[in-house]
Symmetry: D2
Subunit: 259 residues, 4 copies
């Protein structure tokens, strides 16, 4: 697999973002609701994918949900409760950066929950999801795959790049040796939760650029490509000469060093 | 003012993001809380600035708050109530894309609230903010300025670029002719809410790239540049040969067209 | 059926409340969660029953949930979403004064939702409830029945008693003539949602006192009557003479007229 | 002080509840918002008072807020944040059973917070409250007083009465010996937070019945006693013979033992 050229990637992504934009207008005009669950291996590229989908969208329409660990009280509630409050309303898009599937992945492999809790979860997840789908929510679940060799390289990069260091936690390091266990956990998760009404889609993320494009393409192909007629705007000539900023008070623009 | 070269911008932003990253670790280790309010003219570049600050951050630490218009019930509540629920907890960063200041800007100019409501708001805002500051929240308020000529060009761009069309609403078009009114409203807002404990900082965004860099530089200069010692991680050699993804079930990676 | 004497009622209720109290300590010590849905005809006695259950309980442990009509945004969300946020955490009791079943009762009969919405609801409710039950929540659903003659008398009382007037709305008056339709709607609701894991219990409320006692007795009989050993408290003699309130400032007790 | 006769108490309370009812209709028709903070000594009668005010009210209009101790995340937030989400919307009544004043009372006396935290709180509370009052919220703060001898009797009663045992915690027992300290803390609290816009009202609760009546009388006297014309309802004769409950399915009323 040859390397994907940066410029080509940007061009392709740009085209897809135009389609995503059309899709958001379709959502808004129909009041449909979209939910995308992004799961996968450490380093696979969940955050970058969510970023590629959302960066050009209206933040009042599209939200990213990345929940921290539950409080003690939340831990005693119905497992899905704290996710439910983030479900989309009419016209909205919600992107889950990890999700309820923690319980079948990291929590299971690292022993943060009991085997019974995982088992219960695997029974409940399809039921929970069916409800949302039956209610008309458009639900997509993606799992991002990456080979261990590539994963190792990315761990090394994270160690080297100060901007990526926060992505590396002591849990990740322990998890490195459990690549096979994570794969096994995922297979069990698929067996229990890959359903007709809410299937999993696996995307190869050994190349992150290709992975992102393929995932977005796949998502768009499952949604109607309807052109919602845009309000016709025109910009009539201003009635007066363009003004310049003028500040009545002492609060004036700072002199930045970049000028 | 000469054009800022794309490559230079990326380099400079990269450096600032490294500093932002250090700052987030400082926040986390001290439990401090950071809140940045981003206000300014239509087209000035609020969304892009928030994006530049947050794009490399941990989504579990940094949230963007962009509230839609309030429900009828919310409209009858204490004006600040729906904002309060998004205030940062220990170690968190919250970036407000527009904020309670709507009431002194767009709502006032477009007549969406009564003059009395604006007046009340202008009295309450400093009191509200003082409380947060006294509670130890690090609060920064930026106002992004842009001349009307540049604004006009950007409106034209938004009309032409399908990915920017959603940014253009019928309200914006009406607002075009009210550039001076917006300026006047801002001056009144500054007069009432530019305080020692919570000052406004105006940043010239006639060049968006320079504006973003200047704003981030300014923010960083107001926070301590403390090196929080990072946990020393090493990546010991794996105990076994790197594995490749293997899928037990029929759910296998899709064949994307980008491959 | 002879009239139930007020004093006897108070005695019986008192005994049941002692058992309820034991039950709440059992809930707390085991971390179990209890949810009681109280539905039924207008005037049947939902509020009074909830009151009888909760009046002696710790308000930090027992909550009453009586939701107002949903906002426009809530109406576009998953139907159960706004109820989910009120589900009990460990040790808690939540009493629902009306519930999601509105959609199969008042909304259906009065035409506030479409027949399709009721149908969808009737399919979803058992699934929703099964999830909660499978998660370990103790869920009880009561339907309070009353004959129309008795209902008419109570409507008349509400009209006459100023303290009960708020219970009488224009919808209730329209509903008077639809006693049979409500009964039919209830039967369809039972047919769809009376399940092994979450059965309905109908209680005759033609006598409110008997109704309340029977309902509470029934509830208690379905929960273990375990004596949770109470912390042994003693009240050692005070080390000094009992003090009287003394107010240092000018803020002193008011002279009320009842003294 | 002679004992207040039970029957007389019920009569007087009934009259006050009629006035409270008128007041709630006034709130609803004007969209005003009412907030009552009930503080005071252990055993003084906070819960019973809240009960007397709310028992005849519409639970969709009147809420009791009795917050449990904050989660770790909440502890790191702005101190008032978790209270703000319970503030009343138009037409609503919110009764706080204890409140933000914990920090100046139990937390201070028992050492659950630092002296600095109490000091900060005492500075912030009046500012916080002024905002709510300026926003038009009708805010009342009551402090229920009781002499230690009476308090001792009530502790003894709580120990003896199974239905009151939950009210007795190990903290209360420690607090018994600190009657004077609680008084001192209260005086400091009054000195800092008894303001023109949000005064404290102290009510003598050595007799709970008199205390409740005096408190409610005081509250009513501070609100306009406006008669809101009620919708004129009539109950026209039913068009058909009153029906009896008939159940199509096997789900029929239980045979309760109270019948």
């Amino acid at each position: 697999m040859s390397k994907f050229h940066k410029k080509d990637y940007a061009d392709e992504l740009g085209k897809l973002q135009v389609e995503l934009d059309r899709m958001t207008r379709w959502l808004q005009s129909t009041g449909k609701r979209l939910m995308v669950v992004v799961e996968g291996r450490d380093t696979a590229g969940k955050g970058g994918t969510i970023h590629a989908i959302s960066e050009r969208m209206n933040p009042r329409q599209c939200r990213v949900v990345a929940l921290a660990k539950p409080s003690e009280r939340e831990q005693s509630q119905w497992y899905f409760q704290r996710y439910v409050e983030h479900l989309p309303a009419a016209g909205e898009i919600v992107l889950f950066d990890r999700s309820w599937y923690n319980r079948a992945g990291v929590e299971k492999v690292m022993g943060f929950c009991t085997p019974e809790q995982t088992e219960t979860f695997l029974k409940q997840a399809p039921i929970f999801e069916k409800q949302l789908v039956d209610d008309g929510i458009l639900l997509f679940k993606y799992w991002l795959s990456v080979d261990q060799e590539e994963q190792e390289q990315r761990f090394a990069e994270r160690l080297a790049d100060p901007l990526k260091r926060w992505k590396l936690t002591s849990i990740d390091l322990k998890a490195r040796e459990q690549y096979a266990d994570y794969g096994k956990a995922r297979d069990e998760m698929f067996a229990a939760t890959h359903s007709k009404f809410s299937p999993w889609t696996v995307v190869d993320f050994n190349s992150q650029k290709r992975g992102r494009l393929n995932l977005i393409r796949h998502l768009l192909d499952r949604l109607p490509d309807q052109k919602v007629p845009e309000a016709k705007f025109t910009l009539p000539r201003l009635k007066s000469t363009p003004l310049r900023e003028r500040f009545a008070s002492a609060v004036k623009p700072i002199k930045g060093e970049y000028s």
